[in-house]
């Protein structure tokens, strides 16, 4: 019975065999997960946000555990786009894994350049534009906090890109629907939601912030209610825009909440740290839960919680 559920989904015009993906920054470029799962079995691998140049990332400590969550302040450590194209993307392509490549830039021009370099790269299925990384030196640099800046980035990336472009949004805004609309108007084919919430912890022994970067991004099940709410609000306002939902997904039922709220696929992030097999486990659980509820196709549940709701 369970095998009879069709798990096929799509992100804009890209068809995926199933809706469970990794989350950017929580699976590197897939290779380290290979002992635990076959990356080709996932809907796609979402790679760590790559920038133009190699980046050292921040000083340590870079993480703090918090109740049902964690803070991170990595600062986008990475090899830069050249090394990524030379070593990381080909590895995924060779294994038949679909890659959602996350890009991050310090300026609109840098985003454009990244998109240009990635155009036509084998294995690239979707571009995820990380305009919402909280680990930047100033809040003013978070593009996703401003509808105009967000739109500017999306527009230039879209112009350079031959695959669907998903804008990754921050929940730390007064009006996420406004930012979403602005990205879609600028050409975004879909939206990834949510990036981490800005948070911090203070070490009560040293009497100083735990993180070297002072503030960091809060992820994990703690933020799931905020993430589901964001997906819900945006799907309600923009029902035809595909959403890649994420934030605290630990089980198949958690994933189902996002689908019911309007996501077409989900990313599994922090859960991988808890359980390196999480994405495949969650996929199996989701399949079983759908079967148990009598659904034959994944697409039947996307946005279902909105239907028949009078308000």
């Amino acid at each position: 019975m369970e095998t009879s559920v069709s798990m096929v989904t799509s992100l804009a015009d890209v068809t995926l065999p199933n809706p469970v993906l990794t989350a950017s920054g929580c699976a590197a470029a897939g290779r380290e997960l290979a002992p635990f799962l076959d990356p080709a079995e996932l809907g796609a691998v979402v790679t760590k946000s790559v920038m133009l140049l190699p980046r050292s990332g921040r000083a340590t400590p870079r993480m703090a555990e918090t109740p049902s969550g964690m803070l991170n302040s990595i600062g986008l450590q990475g090899p830069g786009i050249d090394a990524f194209l030379a070593h990381d993307l080909p590895w995924l392509a060779e294994r038949g894994a679909r890659a959602v490549v996350s890009i991050a830039g310090g300026s609109v021009g840098e985003f454009a350049e990244l998109a240009r370099r990635l155009a036509g790269a084998p294995g690239l299925a979707v571009l995820e534009v990380n305009i919402s990384c909280p680990n930047v030196a100033s809040r003013g640099q978070v593009f996703a906090c401003d509808p105009v800046a967000a739109a500017d980035v999306v527009r230039v990336v879209k112009a350079e890109s031959d695959v669907p472009v998903f804008a990754k949004l921050s929940p730390d805004v007064t009006d996420i629907v406004g930012i979403a609309r602005s990205c879609v108007d600028a050409g975004a084919d879909g939206l990834s939601m949510i990036n981490t919430l800005l948070g911090m912890a203070i070490d009560t022994d040293t009497l100083r912030p735990v993180l070297a970067g002072v503030t960091g991004g809060l992820s994990g099940p703690a933020i799931r209610p905020v993430a589901v709410r964001c997906v819900w609000q945006v799907h309600a306002a923009l029902p035809t825009v595909p959403i890649l939902g994420m934030g605290g997904i630990l089980t198949g039922l958690d994933a189902l909440q996002f689908l019911l709220a309007g996501a077409s696929a989900v990313s599994v992030g922090t859960a991988v740290f808890h359980d390196p097999c999480a994405p495949v486990r969650i996929l199996a659980e989701l399949r079983a839960e759908l079967a148990g509820r009598g659904f034959g196709r994944l697409s039947d549940v996307v946005g279902l919680a909105h239907r028949g709701l009078q308000r």
Binding site: G57, T60, F273
Partner: protein, 283 residues
């Protein structure tokens, strides 16, 4: 070195060992391919825990024959507080073996193994392997106080000589583990040093080894979110063969590093000459 796996390990025994608890777990795939210096990452807190992150522990023993592994757990915060209270028969979710082990020397020589606190855990298997390869092994074991020493008796069984030290003099010589090093590393002394313990100790041991021109491998302990190389939380500045410093992940590129490669004074900072530090200015 074997690829890590995620297993459900039964707690076979849990017994006090001084200030620590010694956990014996049935984890055949972990036991099968591990080497001294590798570690395991254990999920803590049970099914509805608020603690998402695994806790890391060096492998103390790993017996491919029985499929058993052992770890030595110091109670520290809530995760280890939970772990030291598991009951025999309980199941733990364990990922391992993780990280790079201590490298054995290409040819026999004389090794000095220096351990602080529970940092001695990986040293006994290492000593056995070194001796099996024909090397002489001298162990230096230190801790804050007697009950925080681990495995002194076993040290005597696996090493040619053992020096025990405590900060408070409650057992052995009073002083730090670096105290006997000049003698052990002196002329006609050791050809290699291995160390595991607190970072300050590792730095000091590394310095002592360097001053005697003896290569030194250390197993570091950095705060880790994933333990498997995907999150980038566990980095420290390490000088590469090309002379450039990189932020390396201690979970997959360590925890064992050459002491002389680590920029000890810069751990917890971002030196300007680290590869890619320049890019941090932009954003």
């Amino acid at each position: 070195m074997r690829a890590p796996s995620q297993v459900t390990a039964r707690v076979v025994a849990i017994e006090p060992a001084g200030a620590y608890q010694l956990l014996t777990l049935a984890a055949p795939t972990v036991a099968a391919g591990s080497e001294p210096g590798q570690f395991v990452a254990v999920a803590v807190g049970g099914p509805v825990t608020s603690m998402l992150l695994r806790r890391s522990f060096a492998l103390y023993t790993a017996d491919p024959g029985t499929g058993l592994i052992q770890i030595v757990v110091a109670e520290h915060g809530p995760g280890t507080a939970w772990l030291v209270r598991v009951e025999p028969g309980a199941s733990l979710d364990v990922v391992g073996p993780l990280g790079r082990p201590f490298r054995l020397p290409p040819e026999a020589g004389t090794a000095v193994l220096v351990a602080g606190g529970y940092g001695s855990a990986p040293m006994f298997d290492l000593a056995r392997r070194l001796r099996a390869g024909g090397s002489a092994v001298h162990m230096v074991i230190g801790a804050g106080s007697a009950e925080r020493l681990f495995g002194v008796d076993e040290a005597h069984a696996v090493a040619d000589s053992v020096v025990v030290l405590t900060d408070d003099g409650s057992r052995g010589i009073q002083g730090l583990v670096t105290r006997p090093l000049p003698q052990l590393l002196g002329p006609a002394g050791a050809s290699m040093v291995y160390a595991c313990g607190p970072m300050a100790m590792l730095e000091a041991v590394g310095a002592a080894a360097a001053s005697h021109d003896v290569p030194c491998q250390v197993a570091v302990e950095e705060s880790m979110a994933c333990g498997i190389g995907v999150c980038m939380t566990c980095v420290l500045p390490v000088i590469g063969a090309d002379g450039r410093t990189r932020m390396l992940r201690s979970c997959v590129e360590g925890p064992v590093f050459d002491a002389e490669r680590i920029r000890w004074k810069d751990v917890g900072t971002l030196p300007a000459d680290v590869l890619g530090a320049d890019a941090m200015v932009v954003h």
